[in-house]
């Protein structure tokens, strides 16, 4: 009589585990609670979202040194930070690219780039690629806008592109991230909470 029970329990555990893996595989969706992380900033210090207590949320942006599309958005990321950090939403940039596949994305190169472009925000190295996987980032640049709830949880409020014209900042018609931030700051629901854009595939370890 006991064996079927054990078998069922065993199957249940497997189902739970696999569903957890499936969820991980797809990453976050809007409305999910985002996990905090602890990653090394270009200044050598470890940064976690929890340590930035004054922030109401974060413009978490997976980006890198080498992708031309990521580079097209560097200045716009700086502008976003300058406009919204004071309002409680700083940019937190994360480079998830594998250094072996993309030597231009090493920690030293990140330090150089941050200096050249005078990044006013944290530029973190996701060396194990675990955070990019957990969040479900696929390309650079890829934004996850997080907002802190009264219960001190970080909710995903927007996932996607920074704006609707990567090639020409002058021709941008929709500033997706800014619009979402303005919604959040006004206490309104985010009207467009998900967009897509062309970008470079994250250089995953083990992929050619």
């Amino acid at each position: 009589m006991r064996r079927p029970f054990y078998l069922l329990f065993f199957l249940g555990v497997i189902a739970l585990l696999s569903s957890a893996f499936v969820a991980n595989d797809k990453g976050y969706e809007v409305g999910d609670t985002a996990a905090d992380f602890k990653l090394k900033n270009v200044n050598g210090q470890m940064v976690s979202l929890g340590s930035l207590k004054a922030a109401k949320g974060f413009i978490v942006t997976f980006t890198c040194n080498t992708c031309p599309y990521a580079k097209l958005y560097e200045d716009r990321l700086v502008q976003l930070h300058q406009k919204y950090a004071a309002k409680g939403y700083p940019v937190v940039a994360i480079n998830p690219n594998d250094v072996d596949l993309s030597p231009g994305d090493s920690f030293q190169e990140m330090q150089k780039r941050a200096k050249q472009k005078k990044f006013p925000f944290a530029y973190l190295h996701d060396e194990t690629q675990e955070i990019a996987k957990l969040y479900g980032a696929t390309r650079t640049p890829h934004v996850y806008l997080l907002t802190r709830t009264p219960g001190n949880e970080l909710k995903v409020a927007y996932i996607g592109a920074i704006d609707d014209n990567s090639g020409d900042p002058e021709k941008v018609q929709k500033k997706y991230v800014e619009a979402a931030l303005d919604n959040l700051i006004a206490g309104q629901p985010v009207s467009q909470n998900s967009t897509k854009a062309i970008g470079c595939t994250i250089k995953w370890r083990g992929n050619s």
Binding site: D164, N165, A197, I198, G199
Partner: protein, 170 residues
């Protein structure tokens, strides 16, 4: 006399320059809208289209292009067609894309997809696509088969798709 010779040599110089540019740009790449691509995506014929999204600035894309070219040649006698969709900016068409296509002597169908609103574009091409490149869609309308692969492809991976999903083993 002196001036005439100078004029002649200058003329000759410009002629050779023009000829040189003509040679270098012999490969015309059309800039098209989404509707043109959708003819392939929504085709109902029993042709297997291998639609690869790439750009001159995308290193892994450029590295995998030869595999697609080889496939195009390998299946030349079969209803298999490689379509290389450049998503470079249209302003780079003559400056970068056409010289690249000429230099690499690309034989597959190539065009540049000129749709600046990428949120619209990416969703319209495939709701499953995140927008990362390289990305490849295998589609056969008659067989009602369609697969999106959002990562770099090796020749082995390409062959596996054609063998197992489309029974196109050679």
């Amino acid at each position: 006399m002196e001036i005439r010779r100078k004029v002649a040599s200058i003329l000759l110089f410009f002629c050779s320059l023009a000829a040189g540019t003509a040679l270098a740009q012999n490969q015309q790449v059309p800039a098209v809208k989404l509707a043109h691509l959708q003819k392939y995506l929504n085709s109902t014929s029993d042709t297997t289209y291998i639609i690869n999204f790439w750009a001159t600035w995308c290193k892994p894309c450029v590295e995998e292009l030869p595999h697609f070219e080889a496939l195009n040649q390998q299946y030349a006698q079969q209803p298999v067609k490689v379509v290389l969709v450049s998503i470079d900016f249209v302003k780079d068409l003559q400056k970068k894309v056409e010289p690249f296509v000429a230099r690499r002597k690309l034989k597959s169908t190539v065009f540049l997809l000129d749709e600046p609103d990428q949120n619209y574009l990416v969703n319209a091409v495939d709701p499953e696509w995140s927008g990362a490149i390289p990305a490849t869609i295998f589609v056969n309308g008659a067989q009602k088969q369609r697969f999106l692969v959002e990562k770099p492809m090796t020749p082995e991976m390409l062959q596996e798709y054609l063998d197992q999903k489309f029974k196109l083993n050679q």
